[in-house]
Symmetry: C2
Subunit: 345 residues, 2 copies
């Protein structure tokens, strides 16, 4: 396949064309992804999420810079950025415009940036993100930053794609924002307090640490067991802190000021440490497994609906049943049964 070959050879224009196909969910796009699939699975997928106003975009840009110009002794990595904005379902225009970002990282062939706003359903958005990540992975981008705005299920669905998840907070966004993050915290591998030069940074950090203890108690207990069972604990000796840390990941809380680049190298180092943990603990494969399983299920669902529509589901049949629902003759559930039993006409 011509487009696939061009992408594997590093043609950026070809990659951009595929990403558009993926965003528009075209059959051609699927075919190209099919033939690229065998070349994927190498990239480190990093999800970056957090409430609006936390400065995620700046942080992602700065991280990309460090991956391009890493500390001495580290290899520069090719970086893909996928910025997903699930908050704008109608306008179709991503708030985090490519143009704004391009100014930052423009002209570097080792960086590829793509923004996407919500189109249609949420499932569609996660699928498109997944397709884009796959394309970037095949194209040889070794680190892929998946950024998403918002504070709901959308975030979680997209972040589930990632190997490593960063949750970004900032001081002074109000207590309710802290509270709302409790659910998100459970998927966090690293916590970042950005805008850490602002007043209230201590409070934010304290709140995060407090919530972490609520969110990860199981992991901690499990880790202790793990340490005991792996034979490191000699008779009568308690597993020491180091042992526990090697088997269980304790999400660190980091401070950054992205606009000035402060703390970003430290964040880069912690991400590297998390990657090592993932590989050593077998968690990398486990996450890959979970991710692909849920992806498969979403695709299966979409395919089933498409197939049904093709075979039985004429718009006329659906419309006729809908009229009966509107007149309260059938409940929506009864309507579905009617449709599936082919009595819709």
């Amino acid at each position: 396949m011509e487009l696939a070959d061009a992408i594997l050879q590093g043609n950026r224009l070809a990659l951009a064309r595929l990403l558009t196909q993926v965003e528009n969910d075209t059959p051609e796009g699927h075919l190209v992804l099919d033939s690229l699939y065998a070349y994927t699975g190498k990239a480190h997928l990093i999800g970056v999420t957090g409430a609006p106003g936390t400065g995620k975009s700046s942080l992602v840009n700065q991280l990309a810079r460090v991956y391009r110009n890493p500390p001495q002794g580290h290899t520069p990595r090719r970086v893909g950025i996928v910025a997903v904005d699930p908050s704008s379902p109608f306008t179709g225009g991503a708030i985090l415009g490519d143009r704004v970002r391009m100014r930052d990282l423009a002209g570097d062939p080792g960086v590829f940036i793509r923004s996407m706003a919500t189109r249609g359903s949420l499932g569609g958005l996660a699928a498109a993100t997944s397709g884009m990540v796959l394309a970037l992975d095949a194209a040889g981008f070794e680190v892929i930053l998946i950024e998403t705005v918002g504070a709901g299920q959308a975030e979680v669905d997209i972040v589930r794609l990632a190997h490593t998840t960063l949750v970004v907070e900032a001081p002074g966004l109000g207590d309710e924002i802290q509270a709302i993050k409790a659910g998100i915290l459970e998927i966090a591998d690293l916590l970042v307090v950005n805008k850490a030069d602002r007043p209230g940074v201590e409070n934010t950090e304290r709140a995060l640490r407090g919530m972490l203890q609520l969110a990860h108690p199981v992991a901690r207990t499990h880790g202790l067991h793990h340490g005991l069972h792996h034979g490191v604990a000699v008779t009568g000796r308690q597993p020491d802190q180091e042992t526990v840390e090697s088997t269980v990941w304790q999400p660190p809380v980091l401070r950054t000021v992205a606009t000035e680049g402060t703390g970003v190298v430290e964040l880069y180092n912690e991400i590297a440490r998390h990657r090592e943990y993932l590989e050593n603990s077998g968690e990398w494969e486990r996450r890959e497994h979970t991710r692909l399983r849920s992806e498969l299920e979403v695709l299966l669902q979409a395919a089933l609906v498409a197939r049904w529509r093709q075979t039985y589901g004429s718009q006329g049949a659906v419309q006729a049943v809908l009229e009966r629902v509107l007149s309260r003759e059938l409940s929506p559930w009864q309507a579905v049964t009617t449709l599936l039993d082919g009595l819709g006409e």
Copy 2:
């Protein structure tokens, strides 16, 4: 059906039991909803949404109070509140606990409050919300306030259930929050700047009005046409402002301080005005139509997957194909084709 009868007779315990069934998506719950469905379609569904920290819960409580003790000449209404929190997908505990709210409106038999956190998929959440609203509607609650926290697609999906949508803002939550609301604004029927005693209220209001102009240009143009075509415009006369307002809804921007009850009666009046608009313009039926259609499609999708699983989709088949995806032998799309063609074993 015993439970359905009890609910129609106003038994609160029966209603609470059904809501739990609905939240847990049980077959019994569906059967009860089926038999209640004929009694629904009377309630005014009001969606209340907005970013965290805007004080939505207090506003919803205050609104409920006004519906219970309305201005002279108005009939008190029975109020149902469904508070949905899509931000907490893992803990399963709603942040806006029933208990906290109960303190406010406790003991009033004309008020029924239910909170729900995210369980499983987002589609499931919207479906459960819809089922709960249906139950409250059948039970004779005339006004149903559907509150949701977050700033993403989740919100939008849930708010689509409503006849009237309030978007709540507050001063001082940062510019990015304003920006993120651009998409949400397109579904707003009323805008509320809550915490209007805080500094910056003028800026927030100005920003909202500016974005409204961006979000609703089509409606305005359409309205002008409408006015012209309805014969009110005598030859040579431009349609006046009043004519336009009677055919097109221009979302008003209101200020409230929910904690003190300030501006809540005005909000109540504007909601009443919107209801009148909906009924006079035919928009009420249109929204009902759209809502039930999308509900039907979501249910259909879920039913198709369930049916497929029952017939062909043994876990073994899915697992076998998943292994081939993990080894990069099959792409996820190829895997779906394999599964649907029944070659998965």
